[in-house]
């Protein structure tokens, strides 16, 4: 039995979630292999090879994989799938795009966003925006699963882990494979990246989220930016704040945005709808600042402060 992990990367760095999926994969006690696909994968292949618990790295490199289109990456997964009993990926927008396509080509009922692996073929995942947990069992021989990565600790690098008695310091072998023909009827045109000096939302240690009550994009920035700078925090937003144009789309935290699990989450003027709390309730410590003492966000907060955010936030920023 072998396990394959589809790795998300940007050509320079593996996504931190890959390390968490490697930990999830250890459940099966079987060799874990990582697939890196792209047009410039040497650096990330080496990073993957250095992760403790990784037996082999499969490198799929070709010019047409520069943007890792779902059609092309799914075809690579299909090509190699016969060697594996389990195919895993982090439940990120990257994998959510690719993995269901591969699963259908392989005629497998995929399981999305798994919180816990209970037994071989048996998983726990949430439904209804996290309100309900379900335990489900798959009857497919091949398991195709995306992992709720924040529920798993990150695997370490063999190098940076020299105190580990099991560590041989060895790098896993890297093998290159031939890739299928490009799927030419989808073409990549362009991209926009939100430029920010702040840490990435999904990997930041501290996340500050602002809601609709911030009132405008200017006030959102004016009020939350200085605090974020002091704390080295990423800025998130509720859907209401994003829809109102106060913050970029990719900062939306929640059921239909990103899921974060930082050490510290500060919700500022956020009501705490389930669609929002779905994306933050795994945070280690949650602080909520809201002027409404009955706001549902207080039910998931470790520390609640009933206050006007326009007074409390500057006071907090000054006190740090």
């Amino acid at each position: 039995m072998k396990i394959l992990i589809l790795a998300e990367h940007d050509g320079k760095q593996l996504s931190p979630a890959v390390y968490q999926v490697v930990t999830a994969a250890q459940f099966w006690n079987a060799p874990v292999e990582i697939l890196v696909a792209g047009s410039n994968t040497n650096t990330v292949a080496k990073q993957a090879a250095a992760i403790t618990g990784v037996a082999r790295v499969i490198q799929a490199e070709a010019a047409h994989l520069a943007h890792q289109l779902a059609e092309d990456v799914a075809n690579i997964i299909v090509q190699v799938a016969g060697d594996y009993q389990v195919i895993l990926a982090a439940h990120s927008s990257f994998s959510r795009n690719i993995v269901p396509r591969a699963a259908a080509l392989l005629d497998v009922a995929m399981i999305s966003d798994v919180l816990e692996i209970k037994a071989d073929h048996t998983y726990v995942r949430s439904v209804y925006a996290g309100d309900i947990l379900t335990t489900i069992q798959s009857i497919d021989a091949l398991q195709i699963v995306t992992i709720h990565s924040s529920n798993f600790t990150a695997a370490k690098n063999t190098e940076s882990n020299n105190t580990d008695v099991n560590n041989t310091g060895a790098q896993a072998e890297i093998v290159s494979i031939e890739v299928p023909e490009p799927f030419t009827i989808t073409r990549w045109v362009s991209e926009t990246r939100s430029l920010s000096d702040r840490p990435a939302l999904t990997s930041a240690k501290v996340v500050i989220t602002g809601g609709r009550s911030l009132g405008s994009a200017e006030r959102f920035e004016e009020l939350l930016s200085p605090l974020a700078s002091k704390l080295g925090a990423a800025l998130g937003a509720t859907r209401a704040a994003v829809d109102a144009g106060f913050a970029p789309n990719d900062t939306q935290v929640g059921q239909t945005g990103v899921v974060v699990a930082p050490e510290l989450y500060i919700a500022v003027g956020v009501s705490g709808a389930v669609q929002h709390t779905y994306g933050m309730k795994d945070s280690k410590i949650v602080v909520a600042i809201n002027q409404d003492p009955d706001a549902p966000i207080f039910q998931v907060a470790d520390y609640g402060l009933v206050a006007d955010l326009f007074e409390a936030i500057p006071e907090l920023t000054n006190a740090i």
Partner: protein, 250 residues
């Protein structure tokens, strides 16, 4: 150009779903149901293509029991031209739905298929990609903007850290993000008119595909609530509490 939209019937997003007393499943008996919000974005996108003169016919399809007629009526009231109900008593899961939708696509031959990017009940987010795979069509998921230009569609997708724009040859599959548009409200006269529009019912068994569920539900439960927190009276009290925690530097 014909546009096909897929519409799922789900529990209204405002409802807190309960569990049956034996823990075997959720209890949605008598609960308010409606169109999956993302599917409303899909319908709206199709309607706007029609208003631009790009789409000529909009066909809405839903899979499930006869109860699904209500969400199809909603799609018709929003402006879809006709509707198809694929009737099945099975517990339908993404792969089975994709297979049945493929059969409908083969029959209807739409140039564009728009689905919601996920359903708010099971949050799986798979059906569109699976349908595209089975048809060997191009796909663009999480769309926040679309533009049809002759035989191609250009789609802006919401991805982590920004957006990405793809050009797909038609026919293609697109999944809608909430940001794609703001779905119009259904006016009462339109709802009345929708009653006159046709809903064709096809028994799923007529298609030679197996839509049997592959995922067995073993148990449902409530997640453990976060440990109850405390209220602090001031910013300085908040800070002193936070400073007691290891690993938080303030």
């Amino acid at each position: 150009m014909k546009v096909l939209i897929a519409v799922k019937r789900v529990v209204d997003y405002n409802i807190k779903v309960r569990i049956k007393s034996d823990g075997s499943d959720v209890d949605i008996n008598g609960v308010k149901m409606g169109v999956n919000p993302f599917d409303e974005n899909a319908i709206e996108a199709a309607l706007r293509l029609k208003e631009q003169g790009v789409a000529t016919e909009i066909v809405a399809v839903s899979l499930g029991t006869s109860a699904n007629q209500d969400v199809l009526r909603h799609a018709l009231a929003m402006g879809a031209d006709r509707a198809i109900l694929v009737e099945s008593d099975l517990t339908l899961q993404a792969l089975g739905v994709a297979k049945l939708l493929k059969s409908i696509v083969m029959r209807e031959q739409p140039q564009l298929i728009i689905l919601g990017k996920q359903a708010i009940d099971n949050d799986a987010g798979q059906t569109g990609q699976m349908l595209a795979a089975l048809l060997n069509y191009p796909q663009a998921t999480f769309a926040s903007a679309i533009q049809v230009d002759g035989n191609t569609i250009s789609v802006t997708r919401e991805v982590d850290g920004g957006t990405e724009t793809l050009a797909l040859n038609l026919p293609a599959v697109v999944t809608a993000d909430l940001r794609l548009n703001e779905p119009r409200f259904v006016k009462l006269p339109n709802l009345m008119m929708a009653r006159k529009k046709p809903i064709e019912t096809i028994n799923a068994a007529e298609f030679a595909v197996s839509a049997e569920p592959r995922l067995k539900l073993i148990q449902v439960s409530e997640p453990s609530a976060r440990k109850a927190g405390i209220r602090v009276g001031s910013v300085s009290e908040l800070l002193s509490k936070l400073r007691e925690h290891e690993g938080i530097l303030l």
